[in-house]
Symmetry: C2
Subunit: 408 residues, 2 copies
């Protein structure tokens, strides 16, 4: 067996010549006729020449465009037609200021997906909450983290480690603000992991083989929870917020453009155009390999042929959205124009840059195109991203919440 | 920047708990109700319960089934509707026994893809060849290797390194047998590589984002070449063979089921069911991670929901096919039944096991289901695969060729 392994390793060296240095100019042909000879350049040329079909622009009929975005997103996500079975209450525990419940949902025939519901003291069927928040975690995060519970405390059997409650406990934050907060897991994470391994990529690959996607399944699980939230007596169905951290902004956008009944959105990540990001990151890494912005758990085949993230946020108009971690002013201007077209008040779309890019003088305010040939660090800098300060920004969300959902 | 890199590395540890040992029984629920709690198990359950829609079975109306396979394959491959521009002759050189020509093809607007044509001495417009062969390389291979030319000798400027001609020179073999042989590159390899890097995965990811696939583009490039071959005066259009080595069998199957004018096929790899292979390889590797049979250059979203490789070979009936590197007898029996249903003579489908599995006593002749919980080495053994002896099997192809294409 060792001999075979060595042979396979030797064969793998077949997959590259003695390699020339890679420069940054992959899109410049060495031929007089300007044609591309590398497959990568051919494919990048295809990507450049195919703008997303449902991009927002100032000439669209807003309502027709919004309908088309919803339709294409519905098609891409391939949610099952069969309704999910009714969720079941399994456990509950009292915490200081709120009760936490474990419910089990059944998004697929052989599957059970647990969620936590945080109900502020004093809230019940006769005294519904101020609002509700569906809280979707980021990469590597769990519903336990969001709810301020100990990791792996799926059944609420352990007591909560009070000293360890993190700034990331988004659901606990909303409960403290008087909202019913529901914390979910992303596909492959936490209780949904493979025996402790958060195998996003491995699960995604299986899903892609079936013609589905990581985001398709994740957003389906979240939709099952969201639809059920609307039926809870403690929840005012017309005051539900979807709040996504980092990776969690992706299912947020799916729910946002396909469910007009959602009241408002907390988009806690920087905002960017993924297609442009792919076309920009051509500088080789330390090993001489070109970079790709993310793994295949972000891959939804054909997605970028339809729209990009700023289009999706624009399609949430006129409902309140807060973007808490900046991005390019160009994209925020686009969203503001969309909100104006939708007849939204000026403050319906609110955004904040990272603190270090807050002053106009610290940003490329007028940058319209991110250049190719850069690496991810340069990309972050150009797009006003400060990765070490990527966290759930209660300092922006709290006052926004009091504005869009006044206390009773 | 180093501080940032360290921080990101630290954050990456977030993506798994202190990890429990992974056992082989990922599909066995720990719950009394038998429901899956890991996303991976949920998704595997979906994959198990969804047999490919166009699987061959003994009750199909063969011709209707074959038509449906062609239709679904056409839909999955998403070949461009615009015809490619006419190929152009760019260079030629004489070799012992044949002339080699470089032609340039134009499968996409900004792209040029070179191919080699090997024309046996004595063959011309007035004396067409015995037949022709479109030769598709394996992973890490190039058209130069297949033609017996020096690597990077794209323009036929260098002389051929006679001492270095490899057993892999499939196109040269066919030319020596009196056929016009055409050697192509796979997407991202050789002349189509990124400055010497054979970046199959990176190119594939770009294509998938656009809703296309590595195999979609590769088979499109090959189709352009095949359709052009039919117009060459030296080529009898009704005697074209498609010959694929390893990875090259994938475009072979695409062309095979969608172009009934192809005369015959050399399938030089072991034959397997990819869906079963995915479901079987659940044993963790040395690092505790589960395996997947291949990279995303093999991913065609939704492909496995339609059919698997044995179905595709079955759909080539009644045309001659030779499988040279074995697989499961179960799958060969299925193909034989399909050929019988198509009214093909008994010898139209020919197959050979690897030498070490040739005797029935060395194989699991009756194995009907490959079990889950195994690793790739056990999979190879169960499926009669002898990886160190994976090469182009002229010893089987030569006599087969003389049978299906008698010398004039």
């Amino acid at each position: 067996m060792k001999k075979l392994a060595a042979m396979i390793a030797a064969a793998a060296t077949l997959c590259a010549y003695a390699v020339d240095p890679i420069d940054k100019s992959i899109d410049i042909s060495a031929r007089e006729d300007g044609l591309n000879t590398s497959s990568l350049s051919m494919v990048r040329s295809l990507m450049r020449s195919h703008a997303p079909e449902c991009q927002f622009n100032d000439n669209v009929d807003f309502s027709a465009w919004q309908g088309r975005v919803a339709e294409e997103m519905t098609r891409l996500m391939r949610h099952p037609e069969a309704p999910a079975a009714e969720p079941r209450l399994v456990a509950s525990a009292q915490r200081p200021g709120y009760r936490i419940e474990r419910w089990e949902t059944f998004p697929l025939p052989d599957a059970v997906v647990g969620v936590f519901v945080l109900i502020p003291d004093g809230v019940d069927a006769d005294h519904p909450a101020r609002g509700a928040a569906l809280c979707i975690p980021g990469f590597g995060q769990t519903k336990e983290l969001l709810a301020g519970e100990a990791e792996r405390n799926y059944m609420l059997e352990a007591s909560r480690p009070e000293g360890e409650i993190k700034q990331a406990s988004m659901a606990r934050f909303f409960a403290e603000q008087g909202l019913v907060a529901v914390a979910v897991d992303n596909v492959s994470a936490g209780e949904l992991s493979d025996n402790g391994r958060f195998d996003y990529v491995h699960t995604a690959r299986h899903l892609l083989e079936l013609g589905w996607s990581w985001l398709g399944l994740t957003s389906w699980q979240d939709r099952v929870v969201l639809d059920w939230m609307k039926t809870l007596p403690e929840v005012p169905a017309d005051r539900i917020i979807v709040s996504g951290f980092s990776l969690g902004t992706e299912p947020l956008m799916v729910l946002g453009v396909t469910d007009p009944s959602i009241y408002a959105f907390v988009y806690n990540d920087f905002l960017c155009r993924t297609r442009e990001r792919i076309l920009s990151l051509t500088a080789p890494d330390d090993n001489g390999y070109r970079q790709f912005p993310n793994n295949i758990d972000h891959l939804i085949p054909g997605f970028l042929a339809k729209f990009d993230f700023p289009d999706l946020v624009a399609a949430m108009a006129p409902r309140p959205v807060i973007c808490t971690e900046g991005g390019l002013d160009r994209d925020f201007r686009l969203i503001q124009r969309a909100y104006a077209r939708a007849g939204a008040p000026a403050d319906a779309f609110e955004y904040h840059h990272y603190a270090m890019f807050e002053a106009d003088s610290t940003r490329s305010v007028d940058l319209e195109v991110v250049p190719a040939g850069i690496d991810k660090w340069e990309y972050f800098r150009l797009c006003n991203v400060d990765p070490p300060h990527h966290y759930f920004k209660t300092e922006h969300v709290r006052p926004w919440l009091d504005r869009i959902l006044p206390k009773r």
